[in-house]
Symmetry: C3
Subunit: 356 residues, 3 copies
């Protein structure tokens, strides 16, 4: 499997895609080129993540991957915020959360489950992840309810948004302290490694330093290619008459999360389901508890604060995704059928968004 | 206890009830006769299920019982669909789901709990059942929210309904494959059987073939008697001025689920709580994930598609029933108080429906 | 730590506060005096509870504390009901429920978690508490939905309220029978006591009889001081222009629950997290399942029944608090971060209520 990630093919597809973008070739051609490049770049990223995870442990590796994976989204969202396109920002944040919780997690659990009957990960971590997800939903849900049932001034809405955003950022930073420092061991992966790690085919081909370097490089490449791909999407989707909500919440999110997708699925298929869950769930938590609040503060400095009030449909989509993901992960064990259930919910939401 | 299910009494009450129905006797008399017949027929079904469960294991026995129990409802619903009475179909589906999750499950856990301090069943199965229930709620909830917040054409509503129905049917068939084939052992009952099955009083009095034959026969009889009873209800309830919603969701559902009621309670009192849960929860899952979607497709072929949009009250009732049932079953252990809580929620819903 | 609860200081602050109240001194002075008195009285109560818990076990001790703690609220609420101030009653009930589930529980878990890496309590009890909380939410939620979607007469609303109240009271009394009689041992605390109880510094300084006497005395003192404090609040808050909803749901609730606060936090810091959870969760359950229904019946006898229909915001606040508290307690293990999450949700709700 690793053979096809040839360095030369990786470089060629990336460069071709770059030329297509900057020379402004036909959008359909650009789309095809960058789509091919995404496959190779994501594969590269997956391999780098796996290598780093080997040195750093599944959880830190997963966290690094989730963070690097979200870097692209944060950058894109910053540009959208500067242009005041708040609805599109919220749609893509929503899409990113449900894409990670349903599509990435679903495919990982499903693919891993086809190879391994049952896959286990730290059940305490699963419970904490669930609680964090619920806090994220509450933080989005409560302001929306208050706004819909009471007449609140714009100033009060902004104040509420900033306070909630601040609470979320503090919660997220405290979570990093908790999970990386005070309770690191407590949340460690289930050690199925002992039986697994024996054959030396599993030894990574890169050194520790090289692995980290490649992880950063691959993430940057993914960020670029994702943006080029997203750039072509709008004109393409106009041609096919798709709604903005569907494009923002599904197409952009799927492509923007290509890194998480490939890395998580590859890890799950190597029975490292703990790292796969960390990528998928960790990435969605990072978006809800860190990326979204940071964007609200960033918008505040542009003089036109983005409020934290999502639309009813977005709230329902996030709430629904959190409930089923929490229900499926909370016992710390997964199987193919649970992956299929997550995908079923993703399809139901996707068709609903498509038809609106 | 088994003594009173005398074959002759069974036959006499059944035949009397049949004559009353086809000769169109006075409705009150018909009601009394078929109500008495239901008691005997349901007792017969309970005994046959228990016997099959002895040969097939608690879970397959429970599944068979749930399926045969729902056959009656499916047949009745088909007739209602053919006549376009979609509101009544939805009310009776709702009633069947909450009746199984609250009344059947509640009485089983309560009755079993009075005899045994704590009853255990497979905790993994409990978790999966919970996730399936949540998917069922999501599938009903999401289309309703989209319809209430956006202007959607009838054609789009029908498309959404059919897609969601298709996703649910695939999920249900995959569930059968998962629970009966790929992960059969994984979901096996807690083996309290060892201590239990020793005395030969527990040996079934029927052979394997006879048990299956009797199971089918008893189910068919239940289906007939239930229909006769339901037939008399409408005129009776008109006399007492009850609302259609209450009749559809409570009276019809209670009587239509007589088979599940008696079988599940008897099994719970013999400490086979795993089979009782399988009947109650399995039956409600079958209705939400299979019976309802099949009815939608069936209605499609009549040229007037039944949409999947339930009323707010029905959604709340189903959602509430799923949450409390999930919370109570998720640890794989039950006691009398948990049964009482389920019944408390059933009473709250029943009084609310009655007063509307 | 025990040194500062000197009997003489306790008596002096209490008497000063009493004089200030009955001599009707300046409200700001009254407020300061009774606030200081609350600190000493609550400390006294915490010590008495701890002593009783030593003799009675953590759970019975926790129950006693919760009951004595709620006695104050029940008395205050009775006066409000007699004056027909139903909105304020509901706001303070709401505040009391979320205050216990988020603030008391959050501070206890956080403080205990700073001293002990992980604190454990009976996981079965945690699950049952969760189910009881959900029944409480359902009982408040269902009538509100029915009232908002259907035209129901006032008489029907009253009937529904009384029936639901009756179901709740029966459920609560059955819960006492279950947890104190039929399944007492089953719900016993995790016995970390063996290692803990060895040093005789933990031996209580009071006899069993004296402990109970002091518990009652301290509770009565808390009730008085709380009321004096609440009495000064209204004029103070008017001066600062706060909304009644915020005052009722936050200020009154925080002060009215001072007893639970101090007792629960002190117990958690002594690694008796089981008793702390029992106080916080048990107190909120008692309010939802017993105090609120009793008030409805009490109002019925005044000829003007208080209905069980809470406002949307109150329902959302209670629902949100229950979901996060259930998610955090359900594994029977707590750490500082989980306490912080509860406090984060409390802050989000507090700011929202403040801004309305």
């Amino acid at each position: 499997m690793k053979k096809w990630i040839s360095p030369s093919l990786l470089a060629i597809t990336f460069v071709l895609s770059a030329i297509g973008h900057y020379a402004n070739w036909d959008h359909t051609l650009q789309f095809v080129l960058s789509a091919i490049a995404v496959v190779f770049v994501a594969g590269f990223l997956g391999r780098a993540t796996e290598s780093v995870a080997h040195y750093a442990g599944q959880r830190l590796g997963g966290f690094l991957n989730a963070t690097f994976g979200n870097a692209a989204e944060l950058i894109i969202a910053f540009f959208l915020v500067r242009e005041g396109l708040y609805d599109m920002v919220k749609a893509s944040l929503t899409g990113s959360i449900i894409g990670n919780l349903l599509l990435v997690l679903g495919l990982s659990i499903f693919a891993g489950g086809l190879k391994y009957k049952v896959q286990n990960f730290n059940v305490t971590l699963a419970g904490l992840n669930g609680s964090l997800m619920i806090v994220g939903v509450i933080a989005l849900f409560v302001p929306a309810v208050f706004l819909n049932t009471h007449s609140i001034t714009e100033l009060e809405t902004d104040t509420l948004s900033l306070v909630v955003a601040g609470v979320l950022i503090i919660s997220y930073l405290a979570w990093l302290g908790f999970s990386m420092i005070t309770h690191k061991k407590y949340l460690d992966d289930v050690t199925e490694d002992k039986e697994e790690e024996l054959p030396n085919e599993h030894a990574p081909s890169w050194s520790k330093g090289k692995s980290i370097l490649y992880l950063i490089l691959a993430t940057v490449m993914v960020a670029f290619v994702s943006e080029w791909l997203v750039g072509t999407l709008e004109s393409l989707t106009e041609r096919f008459g798709l709604s903005e909500l569907f494009v923002g919440a599904f197409l952009v999110a799927i492509i923007g999360n290509a890194a998480e997708h490939s890395a998580a699925i590859l890890l799950a298929m190597k029975n490292k389901i703990g790292a796969a869950v960390e990528i998928a769930v960790g990435s969605s938590l990072q978006i809800a508890l860190f990326v979204a609040p940071v964007l609200i503060f960033a918008s505040y400095f542009t003089g036109n604060t983005m409020d934290i009030v999502f639309t009813t449909i977005e709230l329902v989509a996030i709430g629904v995704a959190v409930f089923i993901a929490k229900s499926i992960t909370q016992d710390g064990a997964t199987n193919w059928y649970e992956g299929l259930l997550l995908l079923a919910v993703y399809i139901i939401l996707g068709v609903s968004f498509f038809l609106v």
